[in-house]
């Protein structure tokens, strides 16, 4: 055994990835995955802010039953643009492009991703797609709903459908390149000893996500192209007046867009697996089940899209198959939830901010998932389709699931990213505010929807007002809760307490290098001789330092 002194925290090193080089050029031409992650972090926060402004407008309009703030056409544009910005420019890149970019090489003990230049290219493509979409919004906006359903989008809509579609089309390539980079990196660049089953579950979920990005995104790209052909050149593909079939569009669109839900939530599940195991200081219950359930979700996720078409002219037999398969995809999700819960059992839980988000995720994702089963049932879907029940359901998955994981992960790895601690008290406070605000926003929408309030209308019958007032009040609390982390993260970059290299006392590779890490991540390529989530007893780590001494190899 080595002497205890060797485990003491070293003085903060001078050179790290942030101060290695200075100047705008060093950022705009960087090939460092950590810097690119920060570029993405800034850009997606910008888009999140725009999407949030649209959400604010929607909630303000719905405060009263009359359409008194926005005209109906403006309202159509507002909810469409809220969806497009939040889904394509925030949620899909959120965790993979920021936390995934930053952490995947570090977690497997590599110096960078397999294709650093392609990584930078993906950010520029994302920006190009974003600029074109913002141009479309400023020029007049788009009013088709984020789903671009035909024949409205190809024949009747007078808004900027093709320009918006082009922005999304281009942005898709950024997603494909990110997925490609992750898959090649995880296959070929793992450090010696880092076997597949020693990988943190964050990596399994990102691997599964990357598969969806590569296999699904080209389909939506082609679909958007076909839409543009029909709109511009009047080639009959989707419009019945031209000999096309509008339901074909929905098939093609949802072949990508349903799996895209898993692009949003799988990385979040990876974050939650890390948080649950690390903040209960216990090996995850059923590691291989959790790992393979990610792949199962990726595969099954491609087989369920038809549940979006239950109230169209889709054959009832196809409906039965899709309904059955949609119930099947609940199984791997449930495996994860039960295994996380089992991990908590008789563990040593600490309620730091990231763990609060993780516990929030489990509850909210379960509500979101279970209400999804209502919608996957052929008969109940007829009643609930196109109501606020659907809106509440997918917000529980996308905000309650994906966003909670993103915020939890951002807090958890912030000491590594910024080299500074965030203020813990404010962190816990805002996590609580966000949880309360979120539920107040979306729980009433389940009831309003069940009672028959349709989605996508700017005016509604007065009996639904009470639910909408509750919802708008909740959204205000939620928005306030989001502002707090935005402020203290920026504050902590300058004034936060200096972070140790391993502030949470964890065994993962990313915690075995300095905070913030040097450009090449590790001074020496690490050799992995331990399993993921191999924790020393708490007393031992507190006395000795960070890890069990025999695990210390770097």
């Amino acid at each position: 055994m080595r002497p205890i002194e060797s485990f003491e925290v070293p003085a903060p090193p001078r050179v790290n990835y942030i101060n290695a080089q200075y100047g705008l050029k060093s950022w705009l031409l960087t090939k460092d995955h950590k810097r690119i992650a920060l570029l993405y972090l800034g850009s997606i926060t910008f888009f999140f802010f725009i999407g949030g402004l649209y959400a604010l407008m929607i909630r303000l309009e719905l405060l009263t039953p009359q359409g008194d703030l926005l005209q109906s056409t403006t309202y159509n544009k507002v909810f469409t643009q809220h969806g497009i910005i939040m889904i394509f420019f925030f949620l899909i890149p959120s965790i993979p492009a920021t936390l995934g970019n930053f952490l995947i090489p570090m977690m497997i003990g590599a110096k960078d991703l397999a294709f650093p230049r392609i990584n930078l290219l993906s950010w520029y493509i994302y920006l190009l797609g974003g600029v074109i979409t913002i141009y479309a919004l400023l020029a007049g906006g788009v009013d088709t709903g984020w789903t671009f359903y035909t024949p409205f989008s190809t024949t009747f809509s007078n808004s900027y459908v093709v320009a918006t579609g082009l922005g999304i089309f281009i942005n898709g390539f950024s997603s494909i390149l990110t997925g490609l980079n992750f898959i090649v990196t995880i296959h070929t660049m793992r450090a010696p000893g880092m076997t597949w089953f020693r990988m943190p579950l964050f990596l399994w979920s990102h691997y599964a996500t990357s598969l969806i990005m590569i296999l699904g995104t080209p389909v939506v790209a082609i679909t958007i192209l076909l839409l543009a052909f029909e709109r511009v050149a009047r080639v009959g593909i989707f419009d019945p007046a031209l000999g096309g079939d509008p339901v074909l569009f929905q098939h093609l669109f949802w072949f990508y867009s349903h799996p895209a839900v898993y692009i949003m939530v799988l990385p979040s599940m990876g974050v939650i697996s890390e948080l649950i195991a690390n903040f209960s200081r216990k090996n995850i219950f059923g590691y291989s089940f959790v790992a393979f359930s990610s792949l199962a979700i990726a595969v099954f996720g491609f087989l369920v899209w038809g549940h979006h078409l239950f109230v169209t002219s889709q054959s009832v037999y196809a409906g039965m198959i899709f309904s059955f398969l949609s119930f099947a995809v609940a199984i791997p999700s449930a495996i994860k939830v039960f295994n996380w819960t089992a991990t908590l059992y008789r563990s040593s839980i600490s309620y730091d901010t990231p763990m609060l988000y993780a516990l929030g995720f489990i509850g909210l994702f379960t509500v979101g998932g279970m209400t999804g089963l209502f919608l996957a049932s052929l008969a109940t879907d007829v009643h609930l389709s196109d109501t606020y029940f659907v809106v509440a359901h997918f917000h529980y998955i996308m905000v309650g699931g994906a966003l909670m994981g993103y915020l939890g992960g951002l807090h958890y790895w912030w000491p590594k990213i910024a080299g500074r601690m965030y203020p813990e008290g404010w962190g816990r406070f805002s996590a609580l505010i966000i949880f309360v605000g979120f539920n107040l926003t979306f729980l009433p929408q389940f009831i309003a929807g069940y009672l028959g309030m349709p989605r996508r209308y700017h005016a509604y019958p007065p009996e639904f007002q009470v639910f909408n007032v509750l919802s708008t009040a909740g959204a205000s609390i939620l928005g306030f809760g989001m502002l707090i982390p935005a402020i203290y993260f920026v504050w902590s970059m300058r004034y936060g307490k200096h972070a140790e290299s391993n502030p949470w006392h964890l065994p993962g590779l990313e915690w075995r290098t300095q905070s913030p890490p040097p450009t090449e991540n590790f001074e020496v390529t690490p050799i992995v001789t331990w399993e993921a989530y191999e924790f020393a007893p708490r007393e031992e780590t507190e006395v000795v330092g960070k890890f069990r001494p025999e695990l210390e190899r770097i």
Partner: protein, 100 residues
């Protein structure tokens, strides 16, 4: 990793094959085949052309087995798209749309 060098001759040959394929597609479009054969003929020519592009222009013919597996899985996924979409289109007539 060793790179297979494809000769210019092969590229030109494939290019000519693709041109012939395009000409055939245009030609076939002017002929009124019975039943749904027009679509089938056009798609068959397109698939043949795509196969040439994948095998030669994209170098898959000279690539490792891993690349073949990737191509196969992409085709498999396209199979999923087709199969489940056709589970809708081919069964729409199975049930009478008359309701009481």
């Amino acid at each position: 990793m060793s790179e297979h060098i494809v000769s210019v001759r092969v590229y030109i040959t494939i290019f000519l094959v693709l041109l012939v394929g395009t000409a055939l597609t245009v030609l076939a479009a002017f002929i009124d085949f019975p039943w749904r054969l027009n679509t089938i003929v056009a798609l068959t020519i397109a698939v043949v052309k795509a196969t040439f592009v994948v095998l030669y222009f994209m170098h898959v013919r000279y690539s490792s087995r891993l690349v073949w597996v990737i191509v196969a899985s992409a085709l498999f996924w396209m199979g999923i798209l087709f199969a489940l979409t056709f589970s809708d289109y081919l069964t729409r007539d199975w049930i009478s749309t008359q309701t009481g």
